[in-house]
Symmetry: C2
Subunit: 161 residues, 2 copies
């Protein structure tokens, strides 16, 4: 489980660096086929990862903060790093296989109780980021810039094993 999170974190940092070379206007431009702008998509990735993991810790999942308060690259990076150090990294590092089958129960918009396995939520979070990064890669080409590689091999993720 840890390796796929580490992959996402590495790819996200690469995209943050990539964004340094893009104008604010391009970063905030509304785009077709994803959550919104390039920057909002990164903000959304950061928020969704954090919120689910807060939920898995048995706490109430926070509402998404207003994007207007975070609508610069530096602020989204800062938020990502804060969430990462406070909640995300410690939780993922402490993950063990016996947590897989634990249940997270929530009330949906219709007032019904819905339940997920913790292992299901973890994989949902992993897939969520990779999916949205696929969208970033299309928009990058539309802007005329090569996207960050999505390759998981050749990132040194398995060097210590």
């Amino acid at each position: 489980m840890l390796t796929l999170f580490q992959y996402n974190w590495q790819v996200r940092e690469d995209w943050f660096s990539w964004c340094e070379g893009i104008s604010e206007e391009e970063l905030l431009k509304q785009r077709v086929g994803g959550p919104g702008s390039l920057l909002y998509t990164l903000f959304h990735i950061v928020d969704v990862e954090y919120s689910w993991l807060v939920g898995l810790q048995g706490k109430e999942e926070p509402e998404e903060p207003p994007f207007e308060h975070y609508a610069t690259l530096q602020k989204v990076k800062q938020l990502s790093h804060e969430y990462h150090m406070e909640v995300v990294r410690p939780f993922v590092k402490a993950w063990t296989d016996d947590m897989e089958a634990q249940t997270l129960s929530e009330t949906n918009a219709n007032g019904e109780t819905i339940s997920f396995r913790h292992g299901e939520v973890m994989r949902h979070v992993i897939a969520h980021e990779i999916h949205h990064v696929g969208q970033l890669s299309v928009w990058a080409r539309e802007i005329g810039k090569p996207p960050i590689t999505a390759n998981l091999i050749n990132r040194g993720l398995f060097d210590k094993q």
Copy 2:
């Protein structure tokens, strides 16, 4: 490991069904930001999953077959199902954690030997499909059709556990 493959297989089938409602011209139209057309992207996903898993079985990885021979939805589906039954599903079903650290060695284009852990290749294959499906989702909106959901939750993947 199995669950993320099952997620990809389910999402792929959903995209195959989605493609039934799309004209051949749209399916084959070259698009910006991915491997090529919608249909070629699905073909590429199918080919890459199969080729790596053949490699992990200790056999020589096949060249990508000529896309011209598979350039209809029915033929790509057929190829996906053949590969799935022959190689992909049996290999993934038989996967055990002690296979993680096995090494796959290859010669790259410069004649250098490169090595990957089997666990690294498996995760690369998983991320590869999710990434390209993210690209499909942008193109779907460009065509004006809602994409297949990328949600991993609510797919029944954990119902038996």
